[in-house]
Amino acid sequence: MQRAPWNRDRAQAIIDEHKHLDGAALPMLHALQHEFGHIAEEALPLIAHTLNLTRAEVHGIVTFYHDFRREPAGRHVLKLCRAEACQSRGGEALAAHAKARLKLDWHDTDAIGSVTLEPVFCLGLCACAPAAMLDGRVIGRLDRARLDNLLDEAGR
């Protein structure tokens, strides 16, 4: 997930591309995250000015959604489901294993920037719990071996 470095003019151009939409803030944020990999603090006043909102309002929108990142993620993002169904199917132990192998806590990225570990609350795969998501791809019936494979895939 290599992303472009922050560029104010590019950010404003992306914002302007979406300003005609109804409820333009979310599409703008998605597009910015797609371009830069995260929503930089500097982008918020640009959105606020374009949409004639306050900084506070844009801050409220961004912080409401966990999936808008405020810092760059690793090259790979592994999300482990922490919701009830997955917990009842061994999710807790898998989470502990992932944390131990990566030496990471939730929301952290390893020092070389290869993996970010995140909790997620329900991927809609309760029937094949426990579930995970690697770089947007959902994986069901996770076990220790498959988790290790995923981490190998991510270069760890």
């Binding site: 004639n52 306050t54 900084r55 506070a56 409220g60 912080t63 409401f64």
Partner: protein
């Protein structure tokens, strides 16, 4: 002092009142209640005297439904709906207290309290905490979750705002502050950061309050149910024990406040919910900036000196009065009766103003009385920074769909700010107001947009036709005016069509209109527009001047002008004068006296030698500072009555320490002609109320105008002034406020003027020819300077500079367009020299495209800047209102303060010395 009232706790109905024709009857806890359709169950219950527990609801804000404490049961319906968000319905039977509700509410409170510090005894909100009240109301006895779980108790307190603190550890995330910032204040500076348990209130982007978009109006503090947002004064002092209702002394909105007191100590000012001008809201100045009353620079003892270069000598009141009186008498004996005069203040009460003009007319025996209303120049642009509470309400209307046209040389905030966007901004060159207004009229007339029925019924048709012919001339067309004003013709046409056809149209204007050589013409041109489109004489329309100072209206009403007695009656009218003559036992002069500029001219010429100035700093606020200084310096006895040794006092021989609005009784009249009580909440620190000082000065002069209480002065005003005939303190105490005219025809006052006809007969159309000001740009002075105000400061800043409001405005800056700055090699923050034909000053530059190329702008809150050193003495043809808004200037880089400023600093220090001992010279 006024009889103290108990601490006023206004009833909180939980949700706003609803107006609806249809009434609905239901029963709540067995009691029948009838309320307007659309009312919430919570409010209906409160109407019946039944309090439903609540935390996130308060009647100044729309229902939100988040705290889950106000749940009720409705017979036959499922679940437990929130009573704040559920409207009443005919015949429903509501229960507010059932075993099920009791259990639910206790459960909710347990969750709140499991994440709340248990320091009630030492908490600043102790005695005024809704969370504590609700814990009691639901019978909370234990918290089954304990206190060891995840919590916010270690959150850091934000103390950055000078007036209040934000302590997130005590926050219950009810969102009342966030909603107050949006709904009450229209600023949107607060939000909820995150979601679920992680939710916290955030100013801006998790900034501290001072750095955020917050304007410190305090609406959030007032809305907070806990100690999360709390006045620092309450933290320091403790809870108040009684309140006194009074009126703010800052701007012309006239906000009604509860002064919440502990003995004679002011704990906090809280806007009064029943205040008809402000409906429970206020701005940073009124609510918080009252610290000047106890500022160490306030002068509390009378002082005199023979020469202005002498040190001041503190004397007794009697000595000060005797000295001033003997000087005035000596001067009149030597130079004639007309050689002295007086100036009334737009900041003092009606009663005080009335007494000063009475002293001049009846005591001095001439009509040399004038007021700073002539030179009041508070507002920026259209006055919204100077009338913030009005601005909040206007922005609310704009969010609800009202359209907006802004005519201002600068791109002021209102042109585009969060949730507000003007439909048209006409960025005219300073000095071209009348041309633009005539062009608007041109479009309205030539495109057939006039309200002919209104004009035929309410105006003189022939006069209208003459005016219509005039404005229709090609030189008044938008295309012609575009060349003079710099505003594109299409924008003028669009704005004119919108005003004429957009439904109810109201015009609000500030001193951007009046402070021009054609100020009076512009006001007439505005009236023409309103008449031609039928936008007068009913709610929601009209022509509304926004007054900068609290009592500009009152000062004008009270006969402060040299040619007018109270109620705008000409001094030459024999019948009117006879009325005053018989009551005052004198014979008034029938000739109008001198205006302020004429007094100064006469002083320079040597025929005017003494002046009594109450509560006005003419040296700093009047144009052409050097001329004012020369005039004052030529006088032999200048008596200044003020809180501080202001700029004018540097030229004074007698200083009479004044009292603040907290220390006296009286009335102010706001911009909507609303007369409101000012009540004394503490003993004057200087010993006398301002009106008493005038009475005693008169007495020393041998003129008896004794009064025991300002109510008697109002009785005299009522007796002498037909439009005030029905006004009395008794009525004001009863009604809260009254809008004049108040007399036998309108015993309850007159909220809307000109209904069904104009007081002076037919509406008058005036021919308003545009005449360019004599102040022109040229090669030496190629830029146009215009001056204004900002929100956190007031007038010349004498009060606000002596409060923590300086946190928002530490210095005056010169706004200059990037193009003009680049041409002159000026960078942002550089010192620049600002020079006009009249003088020069230095200040730091602020580069911004808010101003157009060719236009520069500054404020004048700080005496070090002395922007008026460079404004000229051109003034309006009809009123002598000085032309602050247009001065041709040049700007060039400089190294720091100008020679004038350095000399001034030195002189300022020298003329402000107060001797340590009586008579101690250097």
């Amino acid at each position: 002092m006024e009889q103290p009232m108990h601490l006023i706790k206004e009833t909180d109905y939980g949700t706003p009142a609803v107006t609806a024709e249809k009434m609905v009857t239901l029963t709540i806890d067995g009691f029948p209640v009838t309320v307007p359709e659309g009312t919430s169950i919570m409010r209906a219950a409160m109407d019946a005297g039944i309090k439903v527990p609540k935390l996130c609801a308060t009647d100044s804000l729309n229902a939100f439904g988040s705290c889950r404490l106000c749940l009720v049961e409705v017979k036959g319906r499922n679940g437990t709906p929130a009573s704040c968000t559920t409207p009443v319905a005919p015949g429903i039977e509501v229960s507010t207290q059932t075993p099920r509700l009791k259990q639910l509410r206790r459960g909710v409170m347990e969750l709140y309290i499991s994440d709340h510090p248990l320091d009630c005894l030492t908490c600043s909100a102790n005695g005024d905490c809704e969370l504590q009240d609700m814990a009691g109301a639901v019978g909370l006895r234990e918290v089954r979750y304990g206190y060891d779980g995840a919590n916010h108790l270690d959150s850091e307190k934000d103390t950055s705002n000078p007036y209040f603190t934000f302590d997130p550890a005590k926050c219950i995330v009810c969102s009342r502050c966030v909603r107050a910032c949006e709904e009450t204040q229209s600023t949107f500076a607060l939000t909820i950061d995150g979601r679920g348990f992680a939710s916290v209130v955030s100013a801006g982007m998790d900034e501290n309050f001072l750095d955020s978009e917050c304007v410190s109006c305090g609406a959030c503090v007032q809305a907070c149910p806990t100690a999360t947002l709390m006045e620092k004064s309450v933290i320091e002092t403790g809870q108040p024990e009684h309140s006194v209702l009074t009126t703010c002394a800052y701007c012309g909105v006239g906000c009604s406040f509860k002064a919440e007191m502990r003995g004679e100590e002011l704990v906090r000012m809280v806007p009064h919910k029943d205040g008809k001008a402000n409906h429970g809201h206020s701005c940073v100045k009124g609510r918080f900036a009252w610290g000047y009353a106890t500022h160490k620079e306030r002068i509390l003892k009378p002082m005199i000196r023979g020469k202005i270069t002498d040190a001041w000598r503190e004397v007794s009141w009697d000595e000060a009065f005797a000295y001033a009186a003997s000087e005035f008498k000596r001067i009149q004996a030597k130079y004639g009766r007309g050689s002295i005069g007086g100036i009334t203040s737009s900041r003092c009460t009606n009663e005080e103003t009335f007494l000063v003009q009475k002293l001049v007319r009846a005591g001095f025996g001439n009509n040399n009385v004038d007021t700073c209303a002539r030179v009041c120049h508070s507002p920026t642009g259209f006055g919204l920074s100077s009338a913030p509470v009005f601005a909040s309400r206007m922005k609310k209307r704009l969010r609800e769909g009202a359209k907006l046209i802004v005519i201002d040389p600068r791109r002021i905030d209102l042109v585009r700010m969060p949730h507000v966007e003007a439909d048209y901004h006409l960025p005219l060159l300073p000095g071209t107001n009348v041309a633009i207004l005539d062009a608007l009229a041109h479009v309205i007339v030539t495109e057939g947009l006039i309200d002919e029925a209104f004009v035929r019924e309410r105006c003189d048709w022939d006069e209208f036709q003459a005016w219509a012919k005039f404005v229709s001339e090609p030189r008044n067309s938008p295309e012609a005016v575009a060349k003079i004003s710099g505003v594109p013709a299409e924008a003028i046409r669009g704005a004119a069509r919108l005003y004429a056809t957009g439904g109810n149209g109201a015009i609000y204007y500030g001193l951007g209109v009046t402070e021009h050589s054609q100020g009076t013409t512009a006001v007439m041109a505005i009236a023409n527009l309103a008449l031609a489109t039928g936008n007068l004489g009913r709610p929601g329309v009209g022509v509304n001047p926004l007054r900068g100072q609290n009592n500009v209206q009152g000062a004008c009403d009270m006969g402060s002008f040299p040619h007018e007695l109270s109620g705008y009656r000409h001094i030459s009218d024999d019948a009117t004068r006879a009325l005053f003559d018989s009551l005052w036992g004198v014979t008034l002069d029938k000739e109008p006296g001198l205006r302020i500029p004429n007094m100064l001219d006469a002083a320079v010429d040597g025929t005017f030698k003494g002046i009594y100035i109450q509560g006005e700093d003419i040296l700093q606020s009047d144009p052409d500072t050097k001329h004012v200084a020369a005039g004052l310096a030529a006088m032999e006895c200048v008596v200044v009555q003020d809180l501080f040794l202001n700029e004018t006092a540097r030229y004074a021989h007698v200083f009479l320490p004044g009292s603040t609005f907290l220390e006296k009784n009286g009335t102010f009249t706001n911009a909507e002609r609303r007369i409101q009580r000012v009540r004394k909440v503490m003993t004057p620190k200087n010993g006398l109320e301002d009106w008493q000082i005038t009475v005693k000065l008169a007495e020393a002069l041998g003129f008896d105008m004794r009064h025991e209480h300002p109510s008697q002065i109002m009785d005299e005003i009522a007796q002498l002034t037909p439009t005030f005939k029905g006004v009395s303190y008794e009525k004001l105490d009863q009604e809260g406020s009254v809008q004049w005219p108040c007399n036998e025809n309108a015993p309850a006052g007159t909220p809307v003027m000109h209904i069904g006809g104009f007081a002076r007969g037919k509406g008058k159309f005036n021919i308003t020819e545009y005449v360019a000001t004599d102040e022109r740009t040229g090669p030496r002075f190629p830029l146009l300077l215009t001056t204004g105000r900002i929100l956190s400061q007031y007038n010349v800043g004498a009060q606000t500079r002596r409060t923590a409001n300086v946190a928002w405005h530490t210095e005056d800056r010169l706004e200059i367009h990037p193009h003009d700055a680049e041409q002159r090699g000026v960078r942002d923050g550089d010192w620049v020299r600002l020079q006009s034909r009249a003088g020069d000053t230095s200040l730091r530059a602020l580069i911004t495209d808010r101003v157009a190329p060719g236009v520069v702008y500054t404020t004048f809150h700080h005496p070090d800047t002395q922007a008026n050193v460079i404004t000229t003495d051109f003034s309006d043809w009809a009123t002598n209102c000085p032309e602050y808004k247009v001065t041709a200037v040049q700007v060039m880089p400089s190294n720091g303060p100008s020679k004038w400023q350095e000399e001034y600093q030195e002189l300022s220090a020298r003329t402000r010395r107060i001797g340590d001992l009586a008579g101690a010279a250097e």
